[in-house]
């Protein structure tokens, strides 16, 4: 049972344009969501997070949007840069539960 789903295994975007990565979840107990970025041969690194009390969180070129009614979140990267090429994982946790559940990842390729 995949509680966190990333339905797009890959995405290609032109440099300078907006990248939009999507994530859906099924567990209504999830109240904290995170995005991680992973380069080959490295561990995942934290990118941005959002609590369920918000619907938007912004950090520089990265913005995460949360739609609780649809159980959907998205990560927007604008403008996209070649260094953004990586695998992006969506993750979620429930209050009081110190475990993160990850999605399957989306490989983003930025085309120069």
């Amino acid at each position: 049972d995949q509680q966190v789903k990333q339905n797009s295994p890959s995405l290609s975007v032109q440099e300078g344009r907006i990248s939009i990565l999507n994530c859906d979840y099924t567990n209504s107990m999830f109240d904290y969501f995170l995005w991680y970025k992973k380069y080959p041969a490295e561990g995942p690194t934290f990118l941005i997070s959002i609590s369920s009390i918000k619907d938007k969180n912004e950090d520089g070129r990265f913005t995460v949007f949360l739609n609780k009614s649809a159980k959907h979140l998205s990560l927007h990267i604008v403008p996209s840069q070649p260094g953004d090429s990586a695998v992006y994982f969506c993750a979620a946790s429930a209050h009081g539960n110190e475990k993160l559940t990850f999605g399957t990842g989306t490989r983003l390729t930025i085309i120069p």
């Binding site: 490295e42 995942p44 934290f46 997070s49 994982f89 993750a91 946790s93 990850f102």
Partner: protein, 114 residues
């Protein structure tokens, strides 16, 4: 950077042999985790620890055991390795105060079981 070191970084072994992966952290984080990454499955939790000698199972714990005798060390053991355990294994720690509630990951250990 939570100062997480995994060893070995690469290992090739044969089916049926025992394997131990080690995770060492220098940040005194209470929580530690072992995940495996496989194509099409993302990151899946194997076991985690919420303190010395306190551990619990994750979603793919069969065939794995863990031990935590010191705050800084978390060991993952495959008692009898199988080809299905060929994977990249990541250790992670959780900063419970002063952070974003995010996990910090090590660089991974690539295990191949022949």
């Amino acid at each position: 950077d939570a100062g997480i070191t995994q060893s070995p970084r690469h290992k090739v072994t044969e089916t049926g042999t025992p394997v131990t992966l080690r995770c060492h952290q220098t940040e005194n984080h209470r929580y530690m985790y072992w995940y495996r990454q496989d194509p099409g499955h993302g990151l899946r939790l194997i076991h985690y620890s919420y303190g010395v000698k306190d551990t619990d199972k994750g979603e793919v714990s069969d065939g794995y055991s863990v031990s935590r005798s010191k705050t800084e060390d978390f060991l993952l053991t495959l008692e009898s390795a199988t080809s299905s355990q060929t994977s990249v294994y990541f250790c992670a720690t959780l900063q419970t105060s002063g952070g974003n509630g995010e996990l910090f990951f090590g660089e991974g250990s690539r295990l191949t079981v022949l």
